[in-house]
Amino acid sequence: MTRMFNFPEPDGGAEPARDERLGALLRDAVGEPAMTDGDWSALADRVTAAVRGRRAMPWWGHVGRWELRAIPLALAAALVGAFALWSATGAGLSDASLASPDPVAAMVSGTSSAEAARSYAGAVTGSSDLVSGVRE
């Protein structure tokens, strides 16, 4: 969209006259590149080839563009996941739970139910007080 400002029109809105001298000095200062027809043609070929390359890129090409970043990320994620799993296994399956006795087996073998319950509760909670009020 053309932006409109209220600039005062110099020279009554007429097109400014060309200033050959300033133009020449400016050209000398900003360095006009000399582009031949061959240069333009080469640039056009380069641009169209780049666009064609972008257009022709299959889905695995896009994957390929990300692999340099994706592989280390995947490795890091796998390491973090493995460590998290290992930590959870160590903390969740504590010695107490692994060594918790089977109350049914204890009663079958002749132990009293109170003793079996006390033994089981103590193994799980670390305290046998929980079953102190259990009646036989």
């Binding site: 053309t2 110099p10 400016l26 050209r27 640039l43 257009r55």
Partner: protein, 198 residues
Amino acid sequence: MSDSGSPASPLADDRRAAIARDAALIRRARAGDGAAFDVLVAAYMRPAFQMAYRVVGHREDAEDLVQESFLAAYQYLDSFDVERPFGPWLNRIVLNRGANLRRARTRRQTEPETEAVSTAPSALDESTRTEARELLTRALATLSERQRMVVTMFDVDGLTSTEIGERLELAPGTVRWHVHEARRVLRGALSSYFEGDR
């Protein structure tokens, strides 16, 4: 203020025809016709390069910028409103990406390119030209980016205020005002070279 053309003027007709032609090409390109986008590249490559060169001031950087800008244009072609002219949209991409490129890179050169075509008055000897070039470079650096672009597009590239306005999305009157102001600063810096004109 605007002289970009009344609805009945030939300029407006040309503009509408260009928009219609580009819209057809863009629709074909969106549908997967690669040759259609190639036509757009051929049509807009030179003005895009001119703009890119004015932004980055280095030929190789300008060529990279042109390529990057066309790739971006292709990538976002679906978001382009075909009722609008393609050129200013592409120029905006060139300007935005050029500004990023210039910020990201240290300036590769401040001297004019060795292959630059010097058309400075032959009456000026080499030391005088070098001095004038330095004065002008310093004066150009004091201008806003817009004024620098406008005055070089007008006095170096020979574009009209309407053409510059279309490329930079400015009203032609605004372009003329920028030309006037930029010339005032540059002539002030080069006052010793312009004494005879006053």
